[in-house]
Amino acid sequence: MTANVIRNPGDVSALEHQRQVLVHRAGKIVPVVLLFMLSMVVIAPVVWTISTSLRKGTESFTVPPRWLPTDMAIENYEEVFRKVPFGRQIINSTLITWGTVIGQLFSASLAGYAFARLEFRGRDALFWIVLATMMIPIQAVVIPVFIFLRNLGLVDTLWSLILPAVPTAFGTFLLRQYFLTVPIELEESGLIDGANQWQLFYRIYLPLVKPGMAVLAVLSFNFHWNEFFRPLIFLIDNDNFPITLGIFQLQGYMMTGAIAVVLAGVVMSLVPVIIIYLFGQRYLIEGIMRGAIKG
């Protein structure tokens, strides 16, 4: 009897309805508020880095931490260039990264096309070998590669980083996937129009896999701009360092002193990757996904 009483009368069910709406709304809002707080925690180190890089050196490592860059001490950024050859290092990072990216685009588009669209004996076996080398970690090859580069006299030059990074199993695999999506009819009509094999590749296929090349370029740029392990081993002279090593060196000089200068270096190292993210995030994210699809 009592159960019926509660279930039926209009006023109680209206209350119940209101309660459900509230629960529903809370269920939507509470996670968002929690998520927002969490996002503040995640972003805090980045914000702290930027604001501290603009603080006066003597006040940079003090508690309580201050979040507004009230000093606007641009001189920290100048100091970076006095402590380490940062200008030279920016150029080095740029040359290493672009050299690698361009080399990879060239070699991987050729190889990706060959694996996707040309037929020759041993193709599939070669493809599996290339794929298998993706599994090999850098540590398993770095000692012989170092000895080899030293014998060639390339250690402590930018070539020691560019040359071994150009052949890319990942890039070949990635671009092969894009070449496979080009409809074969385009190729046939190209042949009928009298295109030779090179024109077929260069004029018909290559423009159609530009998105794939953008994905490779963006991923590769990020990876090699941020590289640390190989430069640490292959380079000796300050003047040949990329900025990752420059920042590491800067941190060593400053200890817990004027960390504002070190953080100014960090902020500057971030500029290119942020720009790439702003303009190429579509490709960056697609690249991460593509990697996962094959799994």
Binding site: P31, L38, A114, L118, P137, Q139, P167, L263, V273
Partner: protein
């Protein structure tokens, strides 16, 4: 004179054979083009990856430093490795790090992706996506430098805010009990962006029809999450775990920059000892032995995960 003419004739014949305007000629041209196009990549991979792996195996059987010529010592480097307490500690640290870091970045990435995926407001989605992705753009070196300051015991912002909550100063980088936790947080903070984006992509691939069907069948809320959404995400979870483990076993920058492996050997990792032996002590043979073991560990972990994945990964 005749030989030159003979060679020219053969060359001309080859050229004619290749350029024949027939289907066979076309096939030949395309096959040769295939080999030519592959040449830079295959040659490069052979010189800088495939070849050196075998050389590493070979080097690991030698005692070799720059002062003396290489000396073949069979498996002595591996015997030394097994007795080397510092190596044991470093591989132990690496293992501990791998388990903790992968568990952290996969689980938190998953939770964040599930939460952000429910948000319909475009601006808010963009904000969250950018925020959680941003640390991934930084170099490992920059992250280690920044987090090294954040975790500083006396002047670090983190201990200051924990202090406001009544927590005593935590010796993040200077105590053997805490240091691996610190390295795990640092690394997971950066890699969160990767797992997060991966899961966001996986979630957007799940068709609404499947989820509606689950609703009709009475699976809602947590039950739908557990028996429908997560199984549909399992390929991405597998990928995040496998690549996470491969990356974590190679952890280097964070301990190298933040703690130099200290205090004592408490944060020394496998790649760090390999680096130190090969490039500080210049023991190429012993360094190679460590590298080979590291490589085998990675292969074993990957193979095990792929094998176990048959039981829990669900492909649509």
């Amino acid at each position: 004179m005749t030989t030159v003419r003979g060679a020219a004739e053969i060359g001309g014949g080859l050229w004619h054979w290749l350029m024949q305007d027939t289907m066979d000629g076309l096939r030949r041209r395309r096959a040769i083009l295939g080999y030519v196009f592959l040449l830079p990549t295959l040659l490069g991979i052979f010189i800088f990856t495939a070849g050196p792996v075998f050389v590493s195996f070979g080097l690991s059987l030698f005692r070799w430093n720059i002062f003396k010529p290489p000396d073949y010592i069979e498996l002595a480097n591996y015997e030394r490795l097994l007795r080397d307490a510092r190596i044991a500690i470093s591989f132990g640290n690496t293992l501990k790090f791998t388990v903790l870091a992968v568990a952290t970045q996969v689980s938190i990435g998953l939770i964040l992706a599930l939460a952000v995926h429910r948000i319909t407001n475009t601006a808010m989605r963009y904000y969250f996506r950018t925020t959680f992705f941003l640390p991934l753009l930084m170099s490992g070196a920059a992250v280690a430098v920044v987090m090294g300051y954040i975790f500083h015991k006396e002047f670090g912002p983190l201990n200051y805010y924990l202090g406001l909550l009544g927590v005593q100063q935590i010796p993040w980088k200077t105590s053997a009990d805490w240091v691996m936790v610190t390295i795990v947080i640092t690394s997971a903070w950066r890699n969160l962006g990767f797992t997060f984006i991966l899961f966001i992509g996986g979630l957007s691939n799940i068709s609404q029809e499947v989820l509606d069907a689950a609703d009709v069948d009475g699976a809602q809320g947590f039950r739908r999450l557990w028996s429908v959404t997560i199984p549909l995400l399992s390929p991405q979870i597998l990928f995040a775990t496998v690549t996470g483990v491969i990356g974590a076993v190679q952890v280097f920058e964070e301990p190298f920059i933040m703690t130099r492996g200290g205090p004592g050997n408490a944060s020394r990792t496998a790649v760090m000892v390999m680096y130190e032996h090969a490039f500080k002590d210049i023991e190429y043979g012993y360094g190679s032995a460590i590298a080979v073991v590291l490589f085998l560990v990675i292969m074993a972990f990957t193979a095990t995960q792929m094998w176990m994945s048959r039981r829990w990964v669900f492909y649509q």
